[in-house]
């Protein structure tokens, strides 16, 4: 019971790391960023590359997150900002185009074969026993980082002047602009933050996941499930939804192994029936 409970957290927090950037960008920019999975992939590959050169995992994570954030600014300024007033299909097409470009770019640079980073020596130890349940040190590290990210993003949005401007822009962009706030800069900042979170998630996942062109696709689906259950745009909702999915997966694999995957989708269906905007979506709050 304890093992599965702790594993629910491990699974959930990894999911949250990836989904947080996606839900943030949607919440503020109202862009369903289908390139999020590709940014996650880029983060993983960049970390793999930096780790290969420097042998420093910390440096790899920092550079990968920052690098993808900068790339996010490039994407937003040159491409996505032109589509804020366009319909959803145009955004989807733009995202799909970038998914193809980024997958091909990674394939060109690193080859079609999968790559493996390997576990940094500091974490390559026996798992810790917590209440009789084995938990790898690396996963404890990931859980810690995830909580820090959740806390930092929440504080940034709720407690800072940047956050209040972001919330204002999310509610009424034209009024925010009329008040003299540079909304273009604000949007670029939010997109960079969301992209950076995707890059961070990729870099943190790189030691335990195979790196392959197209790896962003499977994680994108999981991220969308998290954001839909939690309520699109809600960081807190994403956190709760990710843990719920973690519980579903962890206990489902023991209790009903043939239906674990279905269980996750059933959870999403139930939530959408009861609360069409997700657990913490704006509709649910009204």
């Amino acid at each position: 019971m304890m093992t599965q409970g702790l594993n629910a957290f491990v699974i959930g927090m990894l999911l949250f790391l990836v989904a947080s950037g996606l839900t943030l960008i949607f919440g503020v920019l109202k862009v369903v960023n289908f390139t999020h999975g590709s940014l996650y992939m880029m983060g993983a590959y960049l970390a793999y590359y930096i780790y290969g050169i420097t042998d420093s995992y910390v440096l790899a994570v920092i550079i990968a997150s920052a690098g993808i954030a900068v790339f996010g600014v490039f994407l937003e300024r040159i491409f996505f900002r032109r589509l804020y007033q366009s319909n959803f299909l145009m955004q989807l097409l733009m995202c799909y185009g970038w998914i193809l470009v980024l997958d091909d770019l990674v394939q060109l640079m690193f080859g079609a074969e999968f790559q493996s980073m390997g576990m940094p020596s500091f974490f390559a130890t026996a798992p810790l026993m917590i209440a009789g349940a084995p938990i790898p040190l690396f996963y404890i590290f990931l859980i810690g980082i995830s909580f820090l990210v959740a806390l930092a993003v929440w504080m940034l949005i709720v407690k800072t002047s940047f956050g209040s401007k972001v919330r204002a822009a999310a509610t009424n962009t034209s009024m925010t602009g009329a008040l003299g706030i540079n909304t273009s800069l604000l949007y670029a900042g939010v997109f960079a933050l969301g992209a950076g979170l995707a890059g961070l998630a990729g870099a943190l996942a790189a030691p335990v996941r195979s790196l392959v062109p197209g790896m962003g696709f499977s994680i994108l689906i999981e991220s969308f499930i998290v954001t839909v259950i939690g309520g699109m745009g809600s960081i807190g909702g994403a956190l709760v939804a990710a843990i719920l999915i973690g519980v579903c997966r962890s206990f489902g694999s023991v209790g009903f192994p043939m239906f674990t995957e279905i269980g996750v989708f059933a959870l999403m269906a139930v939530v959408l029936v009861l609360r069409p905007d997700g657990l913490f979506g704006k509709g649910a709050q009204r």
Partner: protein, 420 residues
């Protein structure tokens, strides 16, 4: 000046006329001559996406054999040319491309290097056209085991799932007997290949070791990024050994994540697809007691011919060969040998020659490969299992399978299915 301009115009005009005449009269004859000098072999395969390595390493393997054939003068001065097309792993695309290769590109033969689902589409196309086809990648057993699939012009040089399962079951049962364990668990990808391979392995494990018990099974989906739930499930079931048919990056992720939990400290691992250069070289921390079927390793079979082939491949393509490479190379070798023996490029004559053909090969268990006449599929290839390390040559004391045992059990399996 005007005269010069006029003269220039006339010259240009005449040149243009000659060009048009040349294009309409001369070039086609040149093209015909080129066509006559080329034997075209079409290859539908997967060259993009997550398993592009399948197409890349298959076509590399085939190209190596073609280069040697052409360097030796080809067939009566006719060179072989490979026309490679990307099916993207979509059966409908495999079907369309194969038709185009035969009808539009005028390919003489098809070397099918597609995955199993695409192979059935290719098979149906060549069933209609009568073009000689060798399936070099699909391992699904029914493609050649089920007599309903049999056509006179299609052969298979890819290993067969049922044969693999017999070899795996026999080896695993012997290791279990030596180490006195009976509790097994399986983890395989949740699609046709995973389900079939696991079921066949369990069948033959129990055949060779009746005391074996399967205490649990896990079915992650293909390309599952996180295996935590399955790892903890295995730890709770406490098996003494696990069998897995996870492949490529999925297998490496499972091992990497399992290592974090110390999953393999007390469990013997049997991973059918680990011993392939491109997979095994990616495992950074190999567990202590891991066994694998031999997919492609230069040390298995441990012969000079096999090492030389692996070296030639690596020198040319700056990469290591895979299981798909030797299968495609073998398909190409059989095709080229059929041309030599029949002294023709006629599909029917070559098909008749291929049925039961034996060739010398670095991939043979005894230096020879056979295209078995009864089901037109490859036998006598070097296959076995051994204990794995993560240093070259990657495999220790590999045990070569006995083709007598494989053939007997395969026949019984076919009879049970009403196929023999």
């Amino acid at each position: 000046m005007t005269k010069i301009s006029l003269k220039r115009r006339r010259i240009l005009g005449a040149a243009a006329s000659l060009g048009v005449a040349g294009a309409s009269l001369g070039f086609p004859s040149i093209l015909r001559a080129q066509t006559a000098q080329t034997i075209k072999i079409g290859i539908p395969t997967i060259m993009s996406g997550r398993i592009a390595q399948l197409g890349i390493s298959s076509t590399n393997g085939a190209q190596l054999e073609v280069d040697a054939f052409n360097a030796a003068g080809g067939f009566n001065g006719q060179m072989v040319e490979l026309l490679i097309r990307d099916s993207k792993g979509k059966p409908e695309e495999s079907s369309r491309l194969t038709r185009d290769l035969i009808n539009s590109d005028k390919c003489n033969f098809i070397l099918d290097c597609d995955a199993s689902n695409g192979a059935f589409a290719v098979h149906e196309v060549v069933r209609g056209t009568g073009t000689l086809c060798i399936h070099a990648s699909p391992e699904i057993s029914t493609l050649t085991a089920d007599p309903k699939m049999k056509i006179p012009n299609a052969f298979r040089t890819a290993r067969q799932g049922a044969q693999d399962a017999i070899v795996a079951g026999q080896y695993a049962a012997e290791v279990a007997k030596q180490n006195n364990f009976t509790k097994w668990m399986t983890i395989g990808p949740d699609y046709a290949y995973g389900r079939d391979t696991t079921a066949l392995f369990v069948r033959y494990l129990k055949h060779f070791s009746p005391s074996a018990q399967i205490v649990g099974e896990a079915w992650p989906k293909m390309s599952q990024p996180d295996y935590t739930e399955f790892i903890t499930k295995i730890m709770q079931e406490k098996p003494q050994a696990i069998f897995t048919c996870l492949i490529g990056g999925d297998l490496v992720s499972f091992i990497d994540q399992g290592n974090l939990y110390g999953l393999f400290n007390e469990i013997e691992v049997f991973a059918v697809a680990l011993a392939d250069f491109t997979t095994i070289s990616k495992v950074k921390a190999m567990p202590k007691r891991v066994h694998s079927g031999t997919r492609y390793l230069s040390a298995f079979p441990n012969t000079q011919a096999n090492k030389a082939w692996a070296n030639a491949y690596s020198a040319k393509f700056k990469d290591s060969p895979t299981n798909w490479s030797w299968q495609a190379a073998s398909g190409m070798d059989f095709m080229l040998e059929a041309i030599r023996q029949t002294k023709s490029v006629d599909s029917k004559k070559m098909s008749d020659a291929l049925r039961g053909m034996q060739i010398k090969s670095p991939f043979g268990s005894k230096g020879m490969l056979t295209l078995r006449a009864s089901d037109q599929t490859l036998v006598d290839y070097a296959t076995g299992w051994g204990r794995i390390s993560n240093k070259l040559p990657f495999i220790e004391n590999a045990k070569m399978a006995d083709w007598g045992v494989i053939t007997d059990l395969e026949l019984k399996w076919k009879k049970e299915n009403g196929w023999a």
